[in-house]
């Protein structure tokens, strides 16, 4: 595992986000066991108490659960994982909207720009997919 840390921000928050990203992207599946405090601390060369705190916070948010004597596991509740996705999307959106507002765009303009960008991106994806479709047809 590798992760670039920013020493200017609390490390436990960065590791929380790192684990959440792994869950959302499917690298960690629902019900998967997550590494022990000591393993992760050694792998990332991070203070074990910081890792401990990361896990406690993830437990509090019900992203991971502890099974007594067995270790910690990614939640198997899909709704929880969906909630993480929404939370992360929310952060991205907030940054984006804030950035656009700083550039002087009004909310209505932002919506238009996003619509156009999504449409452009979508057509690019379809073009990308086109050769496959073509082969299937012929």
């Amino acid at each position: 595992m590798s992760i670039e840390f920013d020493n200017n921000l609390p490390i436990y928050l960065q590791i929380m986000n790192y684990i959440k990203r792994q869950i959302v992207s499917g690298l960690l599946q629902p019900g998967d066991k997550i590494p022990s405090v000591r393993e992760l601390a050694a792998d990332l060369q991070i203070n074990p108490n910081t890792i401990q705190r990361t896990f406690q916070e993830l437990e509090r948010e019900e992203v991971v659960e502890t099974k007594r004597g067995l270790g910690r596991y990614v939640t198997s509740e899909e709704s929880k994982i969906m909630a993480i996705k929404k939370e992360m999307a929310g952060e991205l959106l907030h940054q984006f909207i804030h950035g656009m507002q700083e550039l002087g765009f009004k909310n209505q303009d932002i919506v238009t720009i996003v619509k156009e960008a999504v449409a452009a991106d979508g057509s690019k994806d379809r073009k990308g997919a086109h050769p496959d479709g073509h082969i299937a047809e012929s």
Partner: protein, 232 residues
């Protein structure tokens, strides 16, 4: 919170030079503490006084409630900034030396650490590079089962890759209910393994705080704080 180490009003003079002035702090169990300061700030002096190797001019220090001295020798493992091993030794002689000398020495742990550090028991201490020697000293210091470990510049003379290996070993092999005080001026390389840091400036504690709260409150790294306090 329990106190593992209590330092109360410790001062040290060398002739007319004041090396430490009224230093006080407490350390709880299970913590990795960074003792940070520029050269000549009194870090090594403080470590030696805590280790019971140098007497303080005034003040008191206790480890697990016992006054520092003969009784605390078995509670503290000290890795000095200069090797304690002799040049005639092979690595296995150095391990045997520690094993004979300290009843709390864990030979099994030493073997595991040597293996992890890629140190060959048959190598002669005199042919080890500076970095390899630091690995050996760290192995010897951490293989004792004690309550408090004092490491003086464990990554002082090694390149960045070897630093990673040493940090890895510290995190992997220290026992969780003991505490470590690590003295260094390489703040950026080490700050992520600390619970708390103490800045020692001109013989006094200029700051003693949890590293995550430094980042949270100030939005900046310990390294940046260090540069500000020490005006680099």
């Amino acid at each position: 919170m329990d106190t593992l180490l209590k330092v109360n009003g410790v001062s040290k003079r060398y002739g007319s030079k004041q090396a430490l002035g009224n230093v006080s702090f407490d350390i709880g169990p299970g913590k990795i503490i960074g003792l940070l300061g520029s050269n000549g700030s009194g870090k090594s002096t403080l470590m030696q006084i805590i280790a019971g190797l140098t007497p303080s001019s005034s003040g008191e220090i206790s480890v697990m409630g016992k006054k520092v001295g003969r009784e605390t020798r078995s509670l503290i493992s000290y890795m000095p900034d200069r090797p304690l091993t002799e040049n005639w030794m092979r690595i296995k002689d150095a391990v045997a030396f520690y094993s004979d000398f300290y009843a709390d020495f864990d030979a099994q742990k030493a073997r595991e650490m040597l293996d992890f550090m890629h140190l060959d028991e048959k190598s002669s201490v005199s042919v080890l590079s500076k970095g390899m020697n630091e690995r050996l000293q760290l192995t010897l210091a951490l293989s004792r089962n004690v309550n408090l470990y004092l490491l003086d510049e464990p990554i002082g003379g090694v390149d960045p890759v070897a630093r990673g290996k040493i940090l890895d070993a510290i995190v992997r092999f220290y026992s969780e209910d003991s505490s470590l005080i690590i003295c260094t001026h390489l703040v950026r390389d080490m700050e992520r393994i600390f619970d708390e840091v103490m800045f020692l400036k001109d013989g006094s504690i200029a700051l003693h705080e949890e590293v995550e709260s430094i980042r949270m409150k100030n939005g900046r790294s310990v390294d940046d704080m260090f540069k500000e306090v020490f005006g680099e």
